[in-house]
């Protein structure tokens, strides 16, 4: 784009503005460390919750929840800014895969809990299994989302 100071025809100006808007709303890939980091955080949180319940230290649940929220919030903030654009809401065209990913994480957590419970595990095993299952589902979902974003970028 030139640094011309000439005014633009209206249609051309609208086209430029639309092109810029689309560029800003285009989804970006998440950094490679994000899925693994979250998987680890989920698993550690599940393990901590299980240990706290098993040992009767229920006051630890709030501490663990706060720590998990703070760490995952900070990581999400860093990841969101990693490609230099902080988007508003869910970027266009990836709402479906994001919803599927969230449902997958919840489903994996519940399934992990159910399997551990059916296998006769105590609170420690139930929470740990839920944390690991949700973490790995999250990791898989971020990988899938990155593939969707890459395919969309290649298709342009």
């Amino acid at each position: 784009m030139s640094d011309s100071t000439a005014g633009l025809p209206a249609a051309e100006a609208l086209r430029l503005a639309e092109h810029a808007r689309e560029a800003a709303q285009r989804p970006g890939r998440m950094p490679g460390w994000y899925g693994g980091f979250f998987a680890f955080a989920f698993a550690a949180y599940g393990l901590g919750v299980g240990q706290a319940i098993e040992s009767g230290q229920h006051w630890l649940l709030g501490v663990l929840g706060g720590a998990f929220g703070a760490v995952s919030g900070a990581a999400a903030r860093i990841a969101m800014r990693s490609d230099g654009i902080v988007r508003r809401g869910v970027p266009s065209g990836i709402g479906g895969p994001v919803v599927l990913g969230v449902l997958g994480v919840c489903g994996a957590g519940v399934a992990g809990m159910a399997i551990a419970w059916l296998a006769g595990g105590g609170p420690r095993w139930i929470a740990t299994t839920a944390g690991f299952a949700a973490g790995f589902a999250f990791w898989a979902a971020t990988g899938r989302l990155n593939r969707v974003v890459r395919r969309r970028a290649e298709a342009r």
Binding site: D3, L16, A17, Q25, I85, V86
Partner: protein, 106 residues
């Protein structure tokens, strides 16, 4: 009276930068430069003009030892962009309507 075109946004780079920033929360200088396909100096001039008009907020910071500049459209900037684009759409629609009328009478 219909809103007039904003003279500041009649410049292609300034319009592109504000349209880009208006569609996101904030963006790093390098990302805006790459997506808007302008040089550092052109973007710097456009960002300064938009900042002086109160349309863009500039935030400087560091990631480690590397300096980073983040740009964000302000409320006034978003409102000015919306009004400017509405006026452009009105002009395009009026031109199309006049063209269609001219075509039908020819």
């Amino acid at each position: 009276m219909p809103p007039a075109l904003d003279p500041l946004l009649q410049h292609p780079t300034r319009l592109t930068v504000l349209a880009f920033l208006g569609a996101c929360q904030e963006a790093e200088f390098g990302a805006v430069r790459d997506h808007c396909e302008v040089s550092d100096s052109v973007l710097s001039k456009a960002a300064t003009a938009l900042e002086e008009a109160g349309y863009v907020a500039v935030k400087k910071g560091y990631v480690g030892k590397r300096p980073r500049t983040w740009l964000a459209a302000t409320g006034a900037g978003r409102a000015a962009l919306t009004a400017h684009l509405a006026e452009l759409r009105r002009l395009v629609a009026a031109a199309e309507e006049a063209g269609a009328r001219h075509g039908s009478t020819a």
